[in-house]
Point group: none
Chain length 198, copies 4
């Protein structure tokens, strides 16, 4: 029952969509996620509330799309200089800087958090933002593994999590500082266990 016929997406206003994305990102930076409201987004975007409700189920979904749009074409990838430790440290240090940027961090954190209480949203967040970031590490590790720098029996997925998990936890839970020194230590400690056994 209750199947509202879904709107015809070919007629969708591109103008409104962009305005909504811009408004959502601007507002989440200004007032934070908790005080972000659909009414606020609509007003800022110069758009009717219904136009938002027509296309998204929640403010979190709007923000996810807005943010995804924003980081499209990111896919920076990781260098492969042949030195795995150096490459990991290089990218993680960049992440340290990124996560220190309040403007970028606010919506990302908001999404991570909103996802935690909403399984469906979580799935989309992971698929669209989190997983691609993880895969960058997995691929680089796999390359190292093929060259024999990492033990053949090592689960590179778990190995990646061993580097990213602590980083994420410190950031999200504020259980510690995110510094260059920290990520260096982390990489060294993690890699020490990955080397092929002599």
């Amino acid at each position: 029952m209750a199947n509202k016929t879904p709107p015809d997406s070919t007629r969708r206003s591109e103008r409104s969509r962009r305005a909504i994305y811009d408004a959502a990102l601007a507002l989440v930076g200004e007032v934070g996620y908790n005080k972000l409201t659909i009414e606020g987004i609509a007003a800022r975007a110069g758009v009717g509330k219904q136009t938002i409700y027509r296309w998204w189920p929640s403010k979190a979904a709007v923000l996810l799309d807005a943010f995804t749009q924003d980081v499209e074409g990111y896919e920076a990838g990781m260098p492969d200089t042949g030195d795995l430790a150096a490459d990991l440290k290089f990218v993680l240090r960049a992440s340290v800087d990124e996560f220190a940027d309040e403007k970028w961090q606010a919506p990302y954190r908001a999404l991570a958090v909103a996802g935690a209480n909403d399984a469906e949203l979580s799935a989309r967040f992971v698929e669209r933002l989190l997983e691609p970031g993880i895969q960058v590490y997995v691929k680089r590790m796999r390359a190292a593994q093929e060259r024999g720098e990492i033990g053949a029996d090592v689960d590179v997925r778990v190995a990646t999590e061993m580097v990213l998990g602590p980083f994420t936890q410190r950031w999200l839970m504020r259980t510690g500082e995110l510094t260059y020194a920290y990520v260096d230590t982390l990489v060294d400690l993690a890699l020490a266990g990955l080397r092929p056994r002599a």
Copy 2:
């Protein structure tokens, strides 16, 4: 100015406090954190709203106290059989079970998440719930380190995070399953790097 004289805590109604804790925990399990409301807690507890506002600043704070109360005397600690890997796996496997229990998981997740958007709450959450849990690991590792099972130069705090971070991330972000096999792999991989260099 504006210093509301704080309420006299000696006159506080113990009955009401318990009722509020019970109501908060019951409701967060039934409707989830987002739909948990102060009005709902007050109604369920048979308590005036003001009685809640008098003693707590937010629903998250209520929940934190309620939950803390609930796990008081936990402090289980970790066995020390002399086999570090086995001990870590033992406790982590218990955590796997614990985090699979919807009733326990709901408020814990809610608090973790609420903290992410509220630095002050976060600090108390970490201090009261998260950090004690981490310290259990840190202490066990330190013991192992003193016995020379772990390299003397290893930062046991970071080493602990290398085990708990991935676990937490999988749970919170739902980026993977939490199984016995997973935590075993995790422990083995982490410890491989911790052994003292020959």
Copy 3:
């Protein structure tokens, strides 16, 4: 400025117009005037909203046209048997029956009411529906006056209102029942005057 060129009425779709009338009358009977909506009429008629807005300024105007269409060729007129009292009673009794018919009454009442708050609509309602009904009485009275049954100095318009006004008030305001006995009393009293017979 702003003079929208009026639409070319020669190209108007007769099919749509009829469908709109039918839908409007059906809906006003089903849901009442307050819950009658342009959207509802359009949907029921299988017509775009714009097609309604192009030709009518308001739902009341649609209903007025629809209803007028429906009662076209009414103009029943009043018999002239030579007995004024009997003729008046005859027609008023027919009205009693008519106003008891929910299906006929609903849109008529709706229009009377909508008119009360909209002078322009009111004018058209009076001109097209109400006044013709009144004139039927006025003519019959005038005929009686010419035959000397009614005083030559009597204002037959006012005399007519003296019969129809009470009837309308009872109906519209629900201040009393509309029965055969009532209209008989009304006619007798109006014709006779209140003074005691000498």
Copy 4:
């Protein structure tokens, strides 16, 4: 089911109630009944919307109470100079003036009209405002009847309607002007009857 416990009227804010009445009457005069909104009343009164919804079921009900409050203690009654025609004319002429006053007329008309589409409201409107006004005439007529100025067999209720009905119809439907001359004619005709004087 669904019986929300009714609010405790002893705790009701008199201040708010007055402000709501004032706002409702002011707004209905300024923008008309159709554009009168609960939000508008609340805003103008400096009151939460819920405070209105708590105590009244609709904007019409608010207006009815507001208006009733306003005309409380009216109950002017009718003079009894012994000359029935003169007394009726006197009061009706006063009504002519009253109904020409836009400020008084707007809410009264609005209520009459709202009642037409809402039987329950109608009942209260009639009981509180309309019927008392009618009874003033009925009583005066009855007095005249007891003195023999009016035939003993005359139904004074119907006789009253014969005077007030036409007046009301002209006003509500705008079928004619409301002048002193009109009400004089009406009274004379009603009292005299239509038959030619012998």
